[in-house]
Every structure is written in structure tokens, then in C-alpha cells.
Amino acid sequence: MSSLGRIADAVDAYNAHVSAEVTRARTDAKFAADLRARWAKIRASIETTHSPTGTPLPRLALPPTDEPGAIAEYLFGQGLPGEFPYANAAYREMYLDRETTTGEEPMRLFAGLGLAEDTNARFKHLSTHQKSLRLSTAFDGPTLYGLDSDHEGVLGKVGEGGVAIDTVEDMTRLFAGFDLTRKDASVSMTMNAPAPVILAMFIASAKRRFGPGCVPNLRGTIQADMLKEVQAQNEVIFPIDASLRFLCDMIEWCVPNMPRWYPVSISGYHIAEAGATPVQQAAFTLSNGFTYVELLRARGADVNAIGPRLSFFLDCGLDVEYLVLGRVCRRLWAIGMRDAFGANTKAQVLKLHTQTSGRSLVTAEFQNNLTRTAVELMLSYLNYTNSCHSNSADEPFTTPTEKYATLASHGQSIIMEESGVFKHMMNVFGGAPGLLILEKEVEQAILAVFREMDTLGGVLAAQEQRYQRSKIQEAGHAYEQQIYSGKRPIIGLNKYVTDEPMPSVPLARTSPKKQRLQVERLRAFKKKHAKSAPAALQKLENIARGKGNVFAELINTVEVCSLGQITACLTDVVGKFRPMV
């Protein structure tokens, strides 16, 4: 049995345990009294607050019951916010007004366009109104594929869909003016196959700017989840085992050296956007997460050291399952980590970033996209996501232009700060009947996928047989068929269609002049380091051929080598990924 079978069994066992506790609460007077006492104590500890119109409210909403069975069901089945099994939330308090006025807001907007200085300007614009500094970087195609901007045939893609980064100097331009060592600064980077190189550039650049001692203070996340790349996003450069080795090298280096850094963001977003159903998204994402735990453990890591350093990233679309997807994932992760991997409290908590669904946004009557995103944001917050990106209404056309990026950001502020939904009470909806029904259904469906993958030999074996890919593709095909058969209503596209002409939407595109400028910068860098680069690459190659930690060396290599030079060097050693389609 692969670990997936064990995890599914652990969840069944935990659910049976909850049922047993509920029965005991109803039959064992002593236990019932204890529970009632605990419940009363929790209740008493909850502060009262007032809405702007004077309505008194508890800061934490709990089910209005005193029945021991119901209390047991709640405490063990869902857990208080911040308590095992974390269905309600990762922390006791989130989103409350004092949080959003003094703490960090969940908003984290993904941005990247043109050259480093263009993205830097966008970062400045987006962070003007944020109290904390939460930057999130989108890279362009060549960077995502580890190629230099002067690589044959990529010029047209330079700076499109994200920022072009070739060298450590570009990295310095990207974050110029931001104090990355601030306690409330955090930087996220959507970077995968070349993640070790890009994070090395980030570190090298920070050392240049803030001194060599700054590294432990750097805070943020790099996506680096190679399994979902193989399954859905298709940014794989090296063969899978080599990709996983480079990733594990990076994680192992970060765990002791960058205590505030999340070296992997286990992502379902791309899986869902590629077409997966919500259940498939959750099942593949969680199972990928468990696979990383196994891989790292097999290399000698302690589950309690790595557990807290894993973070997650889910999609949130309009399908009904999204009412509970984050909740169910947190619960399954906690049970799996605790009961199948023996993880302690800190290592059980799934920390979640959510992005509203890009695929749900369409060109037809595109202003409706604002509404779709607003609904998805509500769903994301209902799941108490720890951070959140909202897509812009111009999503189907272009990298967001400033106008729509601003509206997307204001959408979050309107829900969080203007509306009272999340401000006064924590856990407004947890335990609602519809949520409970969905949670059970979704959880069982996820476990069924776990068991199916288990019979195929686990995640990696299933992946080799294209299991995840073919499921995702079938679901994606079905989704499009549903749209064009009218079964899935998309307002303005296949329902209530008006014949308003398509407005022309401003596009964020990178001019050929800028693209050439990037190539010139890169060439100047290569020229400057022409003498030192070969030795640096040789050193890297030697380590890659041996057993050393490639990531530790990359931090030196990037001082004098470009991304493309490094990719080529590593490809020489480990070969190329053979595409899976």
C-alpha cells in the first residue's frame, strides 16, 4: 500500500473516532460534564464587540448548543478555529477588524510585466494602500522555462505575461526601493523548474543590498512545486527525478537558513485551471503534498521540521464545492500529517493561499468578471484562506492593466473592510448545514481518488501512467463541452447574451524596443563575467554530478552566470525532461 492508502485509512479511523466520541458524550455522564465545562470556558473567553450600528456580537461564533453530542461533534469533527482538525481555520482569529487594521491583510496580488523596472513600478502602485508589504511576482515565459532572453526564438515572449529576469542584476532592479528585511514584508514568486536559480538570485541580490546577514530575515514563498508542473502547468525542464532532487536540495537548505521562507507552495490552482474538478484539485494537491513529505523524509528530514515550512495554493471557482474546499483540505492534511506521519501541532496546519479562478472569466461582457471575482473572493474568505489573489476583469485578454488590477484589489478591500461580513465575528458560517453536507461529500470523493491512486502505486507511479494528466484533460474537455452545449450557464456567453459589440480593452504588452533592451542588458552581464562564468559553471557541474547540495552552490553561481547559462549547464548533467502530454 502506498502512503495514500494509509492516509485514507487514517481519515476513516479519525471519523470513526469522532462518532465514538459523540456517542460517548451522549452516554457517559462524566465525559458529558467535562465537555460542557470546556464549552462554557471557551464561551466565557470570547470577547464581545459591536457592529457600527450597535449590535452586540461575540468575536468568535460558535454553534448555539449545549448538547454534549453536538459539542463533541463540533470540537472533534471540525475543531475550533486554530485547533485540530482545523476545518474552520488555521488560526483562532483571522480577518477581524483589529487584524485588518493592525495585522496583515490577506490580500496578495500577483503581478509581473515587461522588464524589472516595469514590475517594480506596478509593485509600488499595488502596495501604496497596503499596510504590510505583500508582493507576488509573475515571470515571463522564457524565465519560467529557464531560458535567457536572447535564446533563439523567444524574443517575442520577453516581458509578456510576466517579468523578464535573466540575472541577479535584474532581480535587484525588480525589488529596488523595497525593504525586504522588514518584519511585515513578504515576497512570493511563481517560479517552478528554475526556482532554485531564481531564489538563489533573490538571496544574492538581497545580500548585496542588505548585507550578508539578511538571509534569515527574508520572508516569502517560492512555488517550486514540480509535481503539479508535471501534472498540469507544464513547466518542466529536467527529468522528474532530477527536478525533485534540485527542489529537495533547495528545501533542505532553506529549512535551517531561511526560517521565515516557505520553499514550496503545493499548488492546486494550476491543476484546476487546467480543467480539474474541485475534488480532483484537492485530491491531487494534497497527495502531491504528502509525496513531498515522503521524499524529504526519505532524505532524512524530520517531519516536524519540514511540515511547518510547506504552504498550499488553491483555486477558487464558482462551483458549489468551493464553498468548502479549503476547509476540507485543511482537515485532511491535518489528519494525514498527524496520524499517518506523526507530525506535531505546528506541522499539521495547512496554510493556504487562494486565487480566484481565471478560467471562470470570459471575454463576452467582460465587466461581469468583476462580479464573478467578487463571488469567488467571498468563497475564498469563507474558507479562511490565509492570503488571496483576486483576478482582474481584463484577465482573458491581457496581463492586468493598472486600472483593472486596482479594481481587483479594491474588490478585496470592499469585502474585508467595507462590508461587515468578516470584520466582527470569526467563524460566521462554520457548521452551517449546507457546508456540513458538502464537506462530507467532498471529503469522501477525495478519499476515493486517494484509493484509486493507491491501487496504481501512489502519486509518482500514477503520474508515470499519466493518471492525473488524463483525468485533468478529460475534466477540462467536459467543462468546455458543458459550456458550448449550454449545460453550464455563463452569463453573457451562452445565456442572456446581448449583442453589445466587444469593447476594446487596453493591453499590457512589451514593446520590441524593451525586449531588445533586456537582451542588451543580458549581453552586457555575460560580457562582464565572461572570464569568471566558466569556472563557476564547472563548480556547479561538479556538485550536480556528485551528491552535494546544488542550491547552496547556486547562490554563488548566480553572481556571475545568467539563468540560461545555468539551465544549460544543469541540462548537460541531468538531461532534458521528456514531455508528457
Binding site: 507544464n234 532530477a242 525533485l244 470570459v362 463576452a364 484533460q473 504588452r509 502530454v581
Partner: protein
């Protein structure tokens, strides 16, 4: 000859699809591919992150009716133009191009692209059924003999004709063209009588690693034969009901994307033998061209009982040697006895030797081959591993049998440490 009188269905439309370099958005194209196959089209899919030269080479060698590109990561105006320019430069002005990319390709972009030679863009919101109907309406035309074609395109067209209903006459004429010096050969001299290709059939269950192994063998051929050419014929099944197919072997080739490789995907179009009915003719065309030192023919991953390569061959066996590929999880000794192909194979590759069952499997197969007593050779390979020494040995043995050049050395040893 009752069968011959029945009107033959028109040969399926062959369409090449791909996603540009530095772009991994494949969800749209996967859906389009599935729809195309469902509507009876043959799709040669080149995958995501696909460079221009790979698309152009494939368009020529696969002799497609049309090329469809799905682009999302921007730069489409430049990319489409580059494909068109390279097609024109290689004498394929007549292959049309269309594409899509949701809302990222605007109507204004489309106008620019059309001026540069793109046929049309399927914009966001175009119903799938409309896309299929338009493709059928505008691109389904029979591909005819064309004496103006040169090089790989001429070879490709000859194979197309062999595949289509016109096998008989057209094929004979084409072959005689090839013989009479109108050869698509890149060699200056016409093929001499003793110019000879070594033809190897590759059979084995689906997923055993045939395609991966062929790609690895190709990389060794290219390294060790600095000027020679290799041809690969990859047979893939057609859907029994729709007649469509997604021909996916080409995309998994990372070393075979080279002008010294002629790669052709063949759909079985109803043939149940594991090979297209046109495979014998295609092999003949490739041999006659005198271009290729080595021809590898991959059969469909079925038929462990009968040997697809012995069924054909009007004048004796179709291939000079047969390589049987299997993975360690064939289900134990009893199952092994049932694999009839193990009797006919000249070479047996036990692939996926990184699998825990490999050790046992190797011993069982060796014992079985021993009993056969035909001097069949067994090789343990890990095709998925970069520079696998087992594949080196297998290649050396094949090259030896086929009289191919072997330039030893030249490769760095690799001791990759992998996770965990």
C-alpha cells in the same frame, strides 16, 4: 475482390497541433485535440513549449493538411509569422495555418496575422462544434501526387499516398519516380543498388517504453553517425468508432527533433495487426530512397501474441530484426510463457530496470530465452535515464548487427544522485 468495389471512405484529415515555445497552456489544445479525434481527424500533437523549427519539420514530414497553433503567453504575432516564414522557406507555402488563444489574440491581432499569412483565429467563445465544422469545410481535401515536392516532403507525400486509397497506382508511380533519379535524396548520387537500410521493428506492450527507447537509440545514432540519417515510423491506433486518432509518439521524442531524423506517425486506420496497412509500403519507400542507414518501426502497443512484423512482408520479413521491449511487471512467469513475441524477437529489452521487480524479471526472461535456444539477446535498460549504459549496450548490439558506424566514447559518465 468485393472489398475493393466498396467506395472507400476519404482518408482522414491530418492536422498538426502545438503550443509555442515558452508556453505551457495546453488545456485548450487538449480539448481541441480530443474534439478533432472525436470527429474523425488525425492529430499529430507536438505538445507545449514547442519551437518553430520543430513545428515546421513535423509539418513537412507528417504531410499534414493544416497546422493549428494554440498560443496564450503572448508574442503570437511574431511566432505565427516565424512558422509561416520557415514553412515558405522550406517549400511548404501551401500548408495553411490557423490558431487560437482565447482573448489573448485580439481581432486587431488577427488582422495583422492574416496579412502575414495566417488563415484565421478561433476567438474565445467559438463553439467547439463550429470549430470542427469550419475545419472540415475548409481543409478536408485529398492530398494528391505532386512531382514538385522535394526532400522529406516528397517522401512524406509518397507515404501519404500509400496510406490513402490510392496505394496501388500512385504508389508504384511514386516509387518509380524515386528510383528514376527524381529522388528526394539529399545525397548527391542516386541510391546505388547496394545502398541498404537496416530496418528494425520495435514491438511490446503499451507503456513498456518503446517510444522512449527509440528516442534514446536515435540520440546514439546521431552522435555516432555524424552524417547519416535515421527514419522512424510510429504506428498508433485509430479510434475504432470515429476513425480519428491522436498520434502522440512524436512529442515524446527529445532527440529525434533533428533534420537528420525522418519521423512519420501512422494511424492504424482499422488495421488490427499492430501496424498501419501502409507500413510495408512506407518502409519500402524509405528504403528505396536510399537516405536512411537505420529505420525503426514502432508498432502499436498491443498484440503480444503475434508478431506484427512477420505478418506482412510480401517478399519475406518486413524488417531485418525485431526488438521486443517489455517492462518488469508483466505479471510473473506464467504470463511470460504466454508472450508469443518473445519467440520471434532478435533482441529483447527489459526496460524500466529501475523497477524493483527488474531483477527477478531479468532472470525469468533469460531462462525463457535460453529454452528458446535461438541466441536471442537480452538487454536491461532504463530508457528514462539520461545516458543509460544499458541502452548504450543495446545500441551497440543493434549497430553491430546492422553494420552501422560506431564511434565509441565521447560521452561523459553520469553518476546522478536523485531524490530520495
Amino acid at each position: 475482390m468485393a472489398a475493393a468495389q466498396k467506395p472507400r471512405p476519404p482518408a482522414p484529415l491530418r492536422i498538426l497541433t502545438a503550443v509555442p515555445i515558452c508556453d505551457g497552456h495546453d488545456s485548450a489544445v487538449s480539448t481541441i485535440n480530443m474534439e478533432l479525434a472525436r470527429h474523425g481527424f488525425e492529430v499529430i500533437y507536438l505538445g507545449y513549449h514547442c519551437p518553430v523549427d520543430v513545428i515546421v519539420r513535423a509539418a513537412l514530414q507528417e504531410d499534414v493538411h493544416v497546422v493549428g497553433i494554440s498560443s496564450y503567453n503572448g508574442g503570437h504575432i511574431v511566432f505565427f509569422k516565424e512558422v509561416i516564414d520557415q514553412l515558405r522557406a522550406r517549400g511548404a507555402r501551401d500548408i495553411p495555418i490557423f490558431g487560437g488563444g482565447g482573448g489573448t489574440i485580439t481581432k486587431a491581432d488577427e488582422r495583422v496575422m492574416q496579412r502575414q499569412g495566417t488563415d484565421r483565429i478561433f476567438h474565445a467563445g467559438t463553439p467547439l462544434a463550429d470549430i470542427m465544422a469550419q475545419i472540415r469545410r475548409d481543409y478536408a481535401r485529398p492530398l494528391k501526387p505532386n512531382s514538385k515536392l522535394r526532400g522529406d516532403r516528397a517522401l512524406a507525400r509518397a507515404i501519404t499516398l500509400a496510406e490513402s486509397a490510392t496505394v496501388g497506382a500512385a504508389l508504384r508511380r511514386d516509387l518509380s519516380d524515386l528510383r528514376s533519379g527524381q529522388s528526394p535524396s539529399r545525397r548527391k548520387t542516386a541510391p546505388t543498388a547496394n545502398a541498404r537500410s537496416f530496418v528494425v521493428g520495435v514491438a511490446g506492450p503499451g507503456g513498456a517504453g518503446k517510444s522512449t527507447l527509440i528516442d534514446e537509440l536515435t540520440s546514439r545514432f546521431l552522435r555516432q553517425n555524424p552524417t547519416g540519417r535515421i527514419a522512424i515510423l510510429a504506428n498508433d491506433p485509430s479510434h475504432p468508432d470515429t476513425g480519428g486518432a491522436i498520434l502522440g509518439d512524436r512529442v515524446s521524442m527529445i532527440y529525434a527533433q533533428d533534420d537528420r531524423v525522418f519521423f512519420r506517425s501512422l494511424a492504424t486506420r482499422g488495421s488490427l495487426t499492430g501496424l498501419s496497412a501502409a507500413a510495408p509500403a512506407a518502409i519500402e519507400i524509405l528504403k528505396k530512397s536510399g537516405e536512411f542507414d537505420l529505420i525503426l518501426v514502432e508498432s502499436v502497443g498491443i498484440g503480444q501474441e503475434s508478431d506484427p512484423f512477420r505478418l506482412f512482408g510480401p517478399k519475406g520479413p518486413l524488417v531485418d530484426a525485431m526488438l521486443f521491449v517489455l517492462a518488469p511487471y508483466y505479471g510473473g512467469r506464467l504470463q511470460l510463457q504466454k508472450i508469443g513475441l518473445l519467440n520471434g524477437a532478435d533482441f529483447v529489452a527489459l526496460n524500466k530496470c529501475d523497477h524493483p521487480m527488474a531483477h527477478t524479471a531479468r532472470a525469468e526472461i533469460a531462462a525463457r530465452l535460453d529454452v528458446n535456444g535461438k541466441g536471442q539477446r537480452l538487454f536491461g535498460t532504463v530508457a528514462a535515464q539520461h545516458h543509460d549504459p544499458g541502452v548504450d549496450t543495446l545500441y551497440a548490439a543493434l549497430a553491430d548487427r546492422g553494420g552501422l558506424t560506431v564511434t565509441p566514447g565521447g560521452e561523459k559518465p553520469c553518476q546522478l544522485v536523485v531524490a530520495p
